[in-house]
Symmetry: C2
Subunit: 141 residues, 2 copies
DNA sequence: AGGCAAGTACGACACCCTTCGTAGTACGAG
DNA sequence: CTCGTACTACGAAGGGTGTCGTACTTGCCT
Protein backbone atom coordinates (compact mmCIF):
# COMPACT_ATOMS: atom_id res chain seq x y z
CA UNK A 1 0.00 0.00 0.00
CA UNK A 2 1.14 3.54 -0.85
CA UNK A 3 4.33 2.24 -2.40
CA UNK A 4 5.05 4.25 -5.57
CA UNK A 5 1.71 5.89 -6.25
CA UNK A 6 2.83 8.57 -8.69
CA UNK A 7 6.58 8.17 -8.68
CA UNK A 8 7.11 11.12 -6.42
CA UNK A 9 8.08 11.26 -2.75
CA UNK A 10 4.59 10.95 -1.46
CA UNK A 11 4.83 8.39 1.31
CA UNK A 12 1.72 9.17 3.31
CA UNK A 13 1.79 6.39 5.89
CA UNK A 14 4.23 7.61 8.52
CA UNK A 15 6.42 4.80 9.78
CA UNK A 16 6.74 5.74 13.41
CA UNK A 17 8.83 2.68 14.27
CA UNK A 18 6.96 1.76 17.39
CA UNK A 19 8.09 -0.97 19.77
CA UNK A 20 5.57 -3.42 21.23
CA UNK A 21 5.20 -3.51 24.99
CA UNK A 22 2.98 -5.60 27.25
CA UNK A 23 0.61 -3.52 29.32
CA UNK A 24 0.91 -3.52 33.09
CA UNK A 25 -1.81 -6.10 33.45
CA UNK A 26 -0.21 -8.36 30.88
CA UNK A 27 3.04 -8.78 32.78
CA UNK A 28 3.86 -12.44 33.33
CA UNK A 29 5.94 -13.60 36.27
CA UNK A 30 7.44 -16.31 34.09
CA UNK A 31 8.72 -13.84 31.55
CA UNK A 32 9.99 -11.39 34.13
CA UNK A 33 11.89 -14.03 36.09
CA UNK A 34 13.34 -15.50 32.91
CA UNK A 35 14.40 -12.06 31.78
CA UNK A 36 16.09 -11.38 35.11
CA UNK A 37 17.82 -14.76 35.11
CA UNK A 38 20.49 -13.53 32.74
CA UNK A 39 23.42 -11.63 34.28
CA UNK A 40 23.79 -9.33 31.30
CA UNK A 41 20.16 -8.36 31.47
CA UNK A 42 20.43 -7.79 35.21
CA UNK A 43 23.36 -5.51 34.47
CA UNK A 44 21.17 -3.49 32.15
CA UNK A 45 18.37 -3.33 34.69
CA UNK A 46 20.80 -2.40 37.43
CA UNK A 47 22.22 0.49 35.44
CA UNK A 48 18.76 1.69 34.53
CA UNK A 49 17.83 1.66 38.19
CA UNK A 50 20.93 3.52 39.29
CA UNK A 51 21.09 6.25 36.67
CA UNK A 52 18.11 8.59 36.59
CA UNK A 53 16.43 9.35 33.27
CA UNK A 54 16.37 7.46 30.01
CA UNK A 55 19.49 5.95 28.50
CA UNK A 56 20.29 4.85 24.97
CA UNK A 57 21.40 1.27 24.33
CA UNK A 58 24.83 2.60 23.43
CA UNK A 59 25.22 3.93 26.96
CA UNK A 60 25.72 0.37 28.21
CA UNK A 61 29.13 -1.25 28.12
CA UNK A 62 28.08 -4.83 27.63
CA UNK A 63 30.52 -7.69 27.07
CA UNK A 64 28.63 -8.94 24.02
CA UNK A 65 28.20 -7.98 20.38
CA UNK A 66 25.73 -5.38 19.18
CA UNK A 67 23.37 -8.05 17.88
CA UNK A 68 23.33 -9.79 21.21
CA UNK A 69 22.73 -6.51 22.97
CA UNK A 70 19.69 -5.90 20.81
CA UNK A 71 18.46 -9.35 21.72
CA UNK A 72 18.77 -8.74 25.47
CA UNK A 73 17.06 -5.36 25.29
CA UNK A 74 14.21 -6.92 23.37
CA UNK A 75 13.79 -9.71 25.89
CA UNK A 76 13.59 -7.14 28.66
CA UNK A 77 11.09 -5.06 26.74
CA UNK A 78 8.88 -7.98 25.77
CA UNK A 79 8.87 -9.17 29.36
CA UNK A 80 7.74 -5.69 30.37
CA UNK A 81 10.80 -4.94 32.46
CA UNK A 82 11.89 -1.92 30.44
CA UNK A 83 10.25 0.63 28.17
CA UNK A 84 11.84 1.55 24.85
CA UNK A 85 11.08 4.28 22.33
CA UNK A 86 12.89 5.81 19.41
CA UNK A 87 14.62 9.16 19.55
CA UNK A 88 16.24 9.73 16.21
CA UNK A 89 18.26 6.62 15.41
CA UNK A 90 18.75 5.87 19.07
CA UNK A 91 16.44 4.00 21.38
CA UNK A 92 15.88 5.38 24.83
CA UNK A 93 15.38 2.87 27.62
CA UNK A 94 13.79 3.21 31.02
CA UNK A 95 12.86 0.85 33.82
CA UNK A 96 9.17 0.07 34.30
CA UNK A 97 9.67 0.11 38.03
CA UNK A 98 6.14 1.22 38.88
CA UNK A 99 4.50 -1.43 36.74
CA UNK A 100 6.74 -4.11 38.16
CA UNK A 101 6.06 -2.98 41.70
CA UNK A 102 2.33 -3.03 41.02
CA UNK A 103 2.33 -6.56 39.69
CA UNK A 104 5.17 -8.16 41.65
CA UNK A 105 5.74 -6.07 44.74
CA UNK A 106 9.22 -6.32 46.17
CA UNK A 107 10.60 -8.37 43.32
CA UNK A 108 12.68 -5.71 41.61
CA UNK A 109 14.09 -4.44 44.87
CA UNK A 110 15.02 -7.96 45.94
CA UNK A 111 16.85 -8.67 42.70
CA UNK A 112 18.64 -5.34 42.50
CA UNK A 113 19.69 -5.44 46.11
CA UNK A 114 21.72 -8.56 45.40
CA UNK A 115 23.48 -7.06 42.43
CA UNK A 116 25.22 -4.66 44.75
CA UNK A 117 27.43 -7.31 46.27
CA UNK A 118 27.41 -9.95 43.56
CA UNK A 119 28.02 -7.71 40.56
CA UNK A 120 29.66 -4.39 41.39
CA UNK A 121 30.62 -1.79 38.77
CA UNK A 122 27.15 -0.46 38.34
CA UNK A 123 26.95 2.99 36.82
CA UNK A 124 27.17 4.62 40.24
CA UNK A 125 30.78 3.53 40.42
CA UNK A 126 31.75 4.34 36.86
CA UNK A 127 34.63 6.62 37.72
CA UNK A 128 35.96 4.55 40.59
CA UNK A 129 39.03 2.84 39.21
CA UNK A 130 40.65 0.92 36.39
CA UNK A 131 37.61 -0.10 34.40
CA UNK A 132 37.05 -3.66 35.50
CA UNK A 133 34.00 -3.87 33.30
CA UNK A 134 34.60 -6.14 30.33
CA UNK A 135 33.70 -4.72 26.96
CA UNK A 136 33.06 -6.70 23.86
CA UNK A 137 36.08 -7.27 21.56
CA UNK A 138 34.17 -5.64 18.72
CA UNK A 139 33.63 -2.46 20.69
CA UNK A 140 34.53 0.68 18.81
CA UNK A 141 36.62 2.75 21.21
CA UNK B 1 32.29 -53.69 45.21
CA UNK B 2 31.08 -55.43 48.36
CA UNK B 3 28.51 -57.36 46.37
CA UNK B 4 28.32 -60.91 47.73
CA UNK B 5 31.47 -61.10 49.85
CA UNK B 6 30.65 -64.23 51.85
CA UNK B 7 27.09 -64.81 50.86
CA UNK B 8 25.79 -63.26 54.04
CA UNK B 9 24.32 -59.85 54.69
CA UNK B 10 27.56 -58.16 55.51
CA UNK B 11 27.43 -54.90 53.58
CA UNK B 12 29.99 -52.81 55.42
CA UNK B 13 30.08 -49.67 53.28
CA UNK B 14 26.89 -47.92 54.19
CA UNK B 15 25.39 -46.25 51.16
CA UNK B 16 23.60 -43.37 52.78
CA UNK B 17 22.34 -42.01 49.49
CA UNK B 18 23.16 -38.44 50.17
CA UNK B 19 22.00 -35.57 47.98
CA UNK B 20 24.35 -32.71 47.14
CA UNK B 21 23.30 -29.22 48.22
CA UNK B 22 24.98 -25.85 47.81
CA UNK B 23 25.79 -24.19 51.11
CA UNK B 24 24.12 -20.94 52.03
CA UNK B 25 27.08 -18.93 50.86
CA UNK B 26 27.20 -20.74 47.56
CA UNK B 27 23.71 -19.75 46.48
CA UNK B 28 23.72 -18.07 43.07
CA UNK B 29 21.09 -15.57 42.07
CA UNK B 30 21.28 -16.85 38.51
CA UNK B 31 20.44 -20.37 39.53
CA UNK B 32 17.70 -19.35 41.94
CA UNK B 33 15.97 -17.10 39.42
CA UNK B 34 16.24 -19.74 36.71
CA UNK B 35 14.82 -22.32 39.06
CA UNK B 36 11.91 -20.07 39.94
CA UNK B 37 11.24 -19.22 36.30
CA UNK B 38 9.44 -22.51 35.73
CA UNK B 39 5.76 -22.61 36.75
CA UNK B 40 5.94 -26.23 37.84
CA UNK B 41 8.84 -25.51 40.11
CA UNK B 42 7.05 -22.48 41.52
CA UNK B 43 4.11 -24.76 42.25
CA UNK B 44 6.42 -27.02 44.23
CA UNK B 45 7.92 -24.11 46.12
CA UNK B 46 4.50 -22.67 46.77
CA UNK B 47 3.21 -25.89 48.24
CA UNK B 48 6.32 -26.27 50.38
CA UNK B 49 5.81 -22.76 51.69
CA UNK B 50 2.13 -23.31 52.47
CA UNK B 51 2.24 -26.72 54.11
CA UNK B 52 4.32 -26.90 57.28
CA UNK B 53 6.84 -29.68 57.70
CA UNK B 54 8.61 -31.87 55.17
CA UNK B 55 6.80 -33.43 52.23
CA UNK B 56 7.69 -36.35 49.99
CA UNK B 57 7.88 -35.85 46.23
CA UNK B 58 4.80 -38.03 45.88
CA UNK B 59 2.79 -35.51 47.89
CA UNK B 60 2.81 -33.18 44.89
CA UNK B 61 0.23 -33.51 42.13
CA UNK B 62 2.29 -32.29 39.23
CA UNK B 63 1.08 -32.33 35.62
CA UNK B 64 4.22 -34.07 34.39
CA UNK B 65 5.70 -37.56 34.41
CA UNK B 66 7.66 -38.99 37.31
CA UNK B 67 10.96 -38.53 35.51
CA UNK B 68 10.22 -34.90 34.87
CA UNK B 69 9.23 -34.44 38.49
CA UNK B 70 12.57 -35.79 39.59
CA UNK B 71 14.24 -33.35 37.24
CA UNK B 72 12.41 -30.34 38.67
CA UNK B 73 13.11 -31.33 42.26
CA UNK B 74 16.76 -31.71 41.42
CA UNK B 75 16.94 -28.30 39.77
CA UNK B 76 15.42 -26.75 42.88
CA UNK B 77 17.81 -28.62 45.15
CA UNK B 78 20.91 -27.79 43.12
CA UNK B 79 19.90 -24.14 43.03
CA UNK B 80 19.61 -24.28 46.81
CA UNK B 81 15.92 -23.50 46.91
CA UNK B 82 14.91 -26.73 48.63
CA UNK B 83 16.55 -29.30 50.89
CA UNK B 84 16.11 -33.01 50.23
CA UNK B 85 17.00 -36.09 52.25
CA UNK B 86 16.07 -39.73 52.15
CA UNK B 87 13.63 -41.34 54.50
CA UNK B 88 13.29 -44.95 53.47
CA UNK B 89 12.62 -44.98 49.76
CA UNK B 90 11.00 -41.57 49.91
CA UNK B 91 12.68 -38.20 49.73
CA UNK B 92 11.53 -35.52 52.10
CA UNK B 93 11.59 -31.96 50.82
CA UNK B 94 11.65 -28.67 52.63
CA UNK B 95 12.07 -25.04 51.65
CA UNK B 96 15.37 -23.37 52.46
CA UNK B 97 13.53 -20.20 53.32
CA UNK B 98 16.06 -18.96 55.86
CA UNK B 99 19.02 -19.43 53.53
CA UNK B 100 17.19 -17.72 50.71
CA UNK B 101 16.18 -14.83 52.94
CA UNK B 102 19.77 -14.46 54.10
CA UNK B 103 21.19 -14.28 50.60
CA UNK B 104 18.36 -12.67 48.65
CA UNK B 105 16.14 -10.87 51.14
CA UNK B 106 12.58 -10.38 49.98
CA UNK B 107 12.93 -12.51 46.88
CA UNK B 108 11.04 -15.58 48.00
CA UNK B 109 8.23 -13.55 49.49
CA UNK B 110 7.92 -11.48 46.32
CA UNK B 111 7.69 -14.56 44.13
CA UNK B 112 5.31 -16.49 46.36
CA UNK B 113 3.04 -13.51 46.87
CA UNK B 114 2.30 -13.49 43.15
CA UNK B 115 1.41 -17.14 43.02
CA UNK B 116 -1.61 -16.42 45.14
CA UNK B 117 -3.45 -14.60 42.40
CA UNK B 118 -1.75 -15.98 39.30
CA UNK B 119 -1.78 -19.65 40.25
CA UNK B 120 -4.47 -20.53 42.77
CA UNK B 121 -5.01 -24.03 44.12
CA UNK B 122 -2.11 -23.88 46.52
CA UNK B 123 -2.33 -26.30 49.39
CA UNK B 124 -4.13 -23.75 51.52
CA UNK B 125 -7.13 -24.14 49.27
CA UNK B 126 -6.92 -27.89 48.78
CA UNK B 127 -10.43 -28.62 49.97
CA UNK B 128 -12.08 -25.71 48.21
CA UNK B 129 -13.79 -27.25 45.25
CA UNK B 130 -13.68 -29.60 42.28
CA UNK B 131 -9.96 -30.27 41.93
CA UNK B 132 -8.94 -27.93 39.14
CA UNK B 133 -5.37 -29.09 39.48
CA UNK B 134 -4.20 -31.03 36.43
CA UNK B 135 -2.55 -34.37 37.08
CA UNK B 136 -0.32 -36.19 34.66
CA UNK B 137 -2.02 -38.78 32.39
CA UNK B 138 0.31 -41.47 33.74
CA UNK B 139 -0.79 -40.84 37.31
CA UNK B 140 -1.70 -43.96 39.23
CA UNK B 141 -5.00 -43.17 40.91
C1' DA C 1 24.26 14.31 -1.36
C1' DG C 2 27.25 11.55 1.11
C1' DG C 3 28.76 9.45 5.14
C1' DC C 4 28.39 7.91 9.73
C1' DA C 5 26.13 6.18 13.89
C1' DA C 6 22.50 3.41 16.21
C1' DG C 7 19.97 -0.37 15.99
C1' DT C 8 17.32 -4.15 13.60
C1' DA C 9 16.69 -8.42 10.81
C1' DC C 10 18.17 -12.68 9.46
C1' DG C 11 20.59 -16.92 9.35
C1' DA C 12 23.73 -20.01 11.67
C1' DC C 13 25.67 -22.44 15.43
C1' DA C 14 26.21 -24.66 19.88
C1' DC C 15 24.29 -25.47 23.93
C1' DC C 16 20.66 -26.11 27.39
C1' DC C 17 16.04 -27.20 28.98
C1' DT C 18 11.75 -29.68 29.32
C1' DT C 19 9.70 -33.68 28.35
C1' DC C 20 9.14 -38.55 27.93
C1' DG C 21 9.80 -43.74 28.35
C1' DT C 22 12.33 -47.53 29.96
C1' DA C 23 15.34 -49.70 33.00
C1' DG C 24 17.47 -49.89 37.44
C1' DT C 25 18.21 -49.29 42.62
C1' DA C 26 16.93 -49.07 47.47
C1' DC C 27 13.89 -49.85 51.08
C1' DG C 28 9.82 -51.66 53.60
C1' DA C 29 5.94 -55.07 53.93
C1' DG C 30 3.78 -59.33 53.34
C1' DC D 1 12.26 -64.04 49.61
C1' DT D 2 9.38 -61.77 46.71
C1' DC D 3 6.73 -57.94 45.66
C1' DG D 4 5.44 -53.13 45.47
C1' DT D 5 6.69 -48.36 46.21
C1' DA D 6 9.47 -44.27 45.52
C1' DC D 7 12.59 -42.53 43.26
C1' DT D 8 17.00 -42.17 40.08
C1' DA D 9 19.72 -42.83 35.75
C1' DC D 10 20.05 -42.82 31.10
C1' DG D 11 19.09 -41.79 26.45
C1' DA D 12 16.33 -39.44 23.00
C1' DA D 13 13.40 -35.98 20.90
C1' DG D 14 11.86 -31.21 20.39
C1' DG D 15 12.08 -26.61 21.15
C1' DG D 16 14.24 -22.58 23.14
C1' DT D 17 18.36 -19.44 24.27
C1' DG D 18 22.74 -16.91 23.88
C1' DT D 19 25.99 -15.85 20.74
C1' DC D 20 27.88 -14.19 16.51
C1' DG D 21 28.57 -11.99 11.75
C1' DT D 22 26.73 -9.77 7.86
C1' DA D 23 23.49 -7.01 5.58
C1' DC D 24 20.00 -3.54 5.99
C1' DT D 25 17.16 0.62 7.55
C1' DT D 26 16.76 5.15 9.55
C1' DG D 27 17.96 9.50 10.87
C1' DC D 28 21.46 13.14 11.94
C1' DC D 29 25.40 15.93 10.52
C1' DT D 30 28.61 18.06 7.52
Amino acid sequence: MSSESTGKTREIDIKVRTLAHPSRGELQLDAVLSALSDPIRRQIVSQLADVPGEQACSAFQLPVSKSTSTHHFRVLREAGVIEQHYRGTAILNSLRAADLEAQFPGLLRAVLQVGIKEAPSSATATATAGESQARHPNAKA
